[in-house]
């Protein structure tokens, strides 16, 4: 591609496709870039290679049938999507969840945040050539997946919540397993930090690379760790607390320059903060019901169903038709590992959702990414792409 530079020089730029099936894109993302030597003059991005039509599919079934689809949004932390969708639907019903359910969800949310950050940083470090850290991170992650498996039978696609409660209660020994896993993750973070924090190669390859200013991040609609790395201290857990997050003691982690280094470090320190929350939540976990007693949402007890006509009808209606949120439109969000995960639910009062719009956190990050590359070096593509944690499942839906 022959171009005339702003200073009048005529150069031949090489055009190059990065992706959609490049190992460093960790998913199906495509960048199309013009290179002047090894410097990226301009780049444009494309998405949609993993588009399944989530929003069309969920209109075909009931509200409960949406849940398995949400697993496949951000598949590195499926439970956060489950909880996010259920939270939005529960907001529409206006129900209050029992204490145990809320505390359990906080534990699952924070453990999910930790494993999501483990994947993001572990894979990002592989892209930088630091393979050892990958094993240091993926072994502790496996501990959490063992807990998921014992909790609900599935490792990746959990579908662990129900609208109005949980799929089922924990197993004996759950608390000990969680505390042990958290300790193992914390140890892994310490080990990896020791390897990278002042490692010359790592610092040189991440400092002032892929920088995003605070104003740029806000206008681009960034949320979550990437926004905080740019120095904007916004976290839904603090700003619009839900599930009693205001009663837990933890800090938000904020960066200064918004470069790749900051984004990796924000995630590192956030895992330690999540560990604090999990320990507090486990200490609060008291026996009790895990489903709300609302007849619109929860199945009546078997004893009632066998002896009471109304309970039998209720059970049938819930199983065959499903739940019916009141008609209206509701946007609700929670702080997922990547940022604000929002669901806009349009209900017509029926059993099938009329329209569900997912607001995936990495959509805004990916849309701003090609512009971040202007003037960067080709090897920085992989390192900065890993640090904004694009998950194609939730990006393309």
């Amino acid at each position: 591609m022959r171009v005339k530079k702003p200073d009048g020089e005529i150069v031949d730029l090489m055009t190059i496709n990065i992706g959609p099936s490049h190992p460093a894109t960790h998913g199906t993302l495509r960048l199309f870039a013009a290179l002047d030597g090894e410097t990226i003059t301009a780049a444009v991005g494309e998405m949609g290679y993993l588009h399944r039509g989530f929003e069309k599919m969920v209109e075909q079934g009931t509200y409960q049938m949406v849940l398995p689809f949400t697993d496949r949004l951000n598949y590195c932390s499926s439970m956060m999507n489950n909880i996010g969708f259920c939270k939005a639907a529960e907001t529409m019903f206006g129900v209050t969840l029992p204490e145990r359910c809320v505390t359990l969800r906080v534990i699952l949310l924070e453990l999910s945040r930790m494993i999501d950050h483990l994947v993001c940083n572990g894979a990002n470090l592989v892209d930088l050539g630091a393979l050892t850290n990958f094993w240091y991170f993926f072994n502790p992650r496996e501990r959490v997946y063992a807990i998921w498996e014992r909790l609900c039978g599935a490792r990746l696609t959990n579908t662990v919540t129900r609208i109005g409660g949980m799929y089922r209660d924990t197993y004996p020994g759950f608390e000990q397993d969680v505390l042990a896993a958290v300790q193992v993750i914390e140890d892994a973070v310490t080990e990896v930090m020791g390897l990278i924090e002042r490692n010359r190669i790592f610092v040189d390859r991440t400092r002032n690379i892929g920088t995003m200013s605070a104003a740029g991040a806000i206008s681009a609609g960034w949320t979550g760790p990437c926004l905080r790395a740019s120095g904007v201290d916004r976290d839904l857990r603090k700003d619009e607390p839900y599930y009693g997050y205001e009663t837990y003691e933890f800090d938000t982690v904020v960066g200064t320059t918004g470069d790749t280094y900051d984004r990796i470090m924000v995630r590192m320190y956030e895992m330690r903060e999540s560990a604090k929350i999990v320990r507090q939540a486990v200490a609060r976990l008291k026996p009790g019901p895990i489903n709300c007693a609302d007849a619109r949402l929860s199945l009546p007890s078997r004893n009632h169903v066998y002896h009471d006509m109304e309970a039998l009808i209720n059970s049938f209606k819930l199983v065959y038709e499903g739940v019916r949120p009141p008609a209206g439109e509701c946007y609700d969000a929670l702080e997922a590992a990547n940022g604000e995960l929002g669901f806009l639910i349009v209900s017509d009062g029926g059993t099938n959702p009329y329209r569900i719009k997912v607001r995936p956190p990495c959509f805004t990050q990916w849309s701003a990414y090609p512009d971040m590359l202007t003037g960067a070096m080709l090897p920085d593509v992989a390192s900065s792409l890993g640090s904004i944690n694009i998950i194609a499942g939730e990006l393309d839906r």
Binding site: K4, I10, L13, A220, K238
Partner: protein, 207 residues
């Protein structure tokens, strides 16, 4: 920037700010605050909310198209576009909503007001078929460039299949980006000239 978030304006004050622009409360949203504005006032309303000292809604989270074709007892325009907004300064949220007719499904673009609007509007065009006037690059986003129709319209059959013959070369987009950066494109490469940095690339050069 690391100040604690300030309490936001209550719903009635936010509504009063938008009343001069024809803003009315949308009763469908009983959980948050959704304000309907006429299409002509959309950009003015976005600016008032973004730049107002007491609102500072500097983040456009999404652009969401809704098709009311099969909504029970719906008597109104067929399409709506929702703009959920939030602030990084105050603890308040607001969703702007514009209702538009089927034969005139055009909304002014907000890509120059919020950077996040650019791709979000492309997605809305792709999925629901809302045209965003003055958008610089209103291409499909989730579906491929040979796709016909808009899948999230209620009259689009769920099982319909469409095929793709060749990938979007994206050279036009790259040339536009270079022009935007001050370069003058003298010669465009043919579509197949782009080198691919993928696992396939190695295989191709070996054979």
């Amino acid at each position: 920037m690391s100040d604690a978030i300030k309490p936001g304006l209550p719903a009635d004050q936010l509504l009063a700010l938008l009343a001069p622009l024809g803003g009315t409360k949308d009763e469908a949203d009983r959980w948050g605050l959704t304000v309907r504005v006429p299409r002509e006032q959309l950009r003015a309303a976005l600016l008032v909310l973004r730049d107002g000292e007491s609102t500072r809604m500097d983040q456009l989270l999404d652009v969401c198209g809704i098709d009311y074709l099969s909504y029970p007892d719906w008597r109104g325009q067929r399409f709506a576009v929702s703009y959920p907004l939030k602030s990084t300064v105050f603890r308040h949220r607001l969703t702007l909503k514009v209702l538009i007719e089927e034969d005139d499904a055009v909304v002014p673009s907000a890509h120059d007001l919020f950077r996040s609007a650019d791709w979000a509007e492309r997605e809305c065009w792709d999925q629901v078929g809302i045209v965003f006037a003055d958008h610089p690059n209103l291409k499909r986003l989730l579906n491929h460039h040979e796709f016909v129709g808009h899948p999230l319209r209620k009259d689009y059959p769920c099982q319909k299949r469409q095929k793709l013959s060749i990938n979007d070369p994206m050279i036009d987009q790259l040339a536009a980006k270079l022009t935007q950066l001050g370069y003058e494109v003298l010669e465009m490469p043919v579509a197949s000239a782009g080198l691919a940095l993928t696992p396939m690339h190695q295989k191709e050069t070996q054979s």
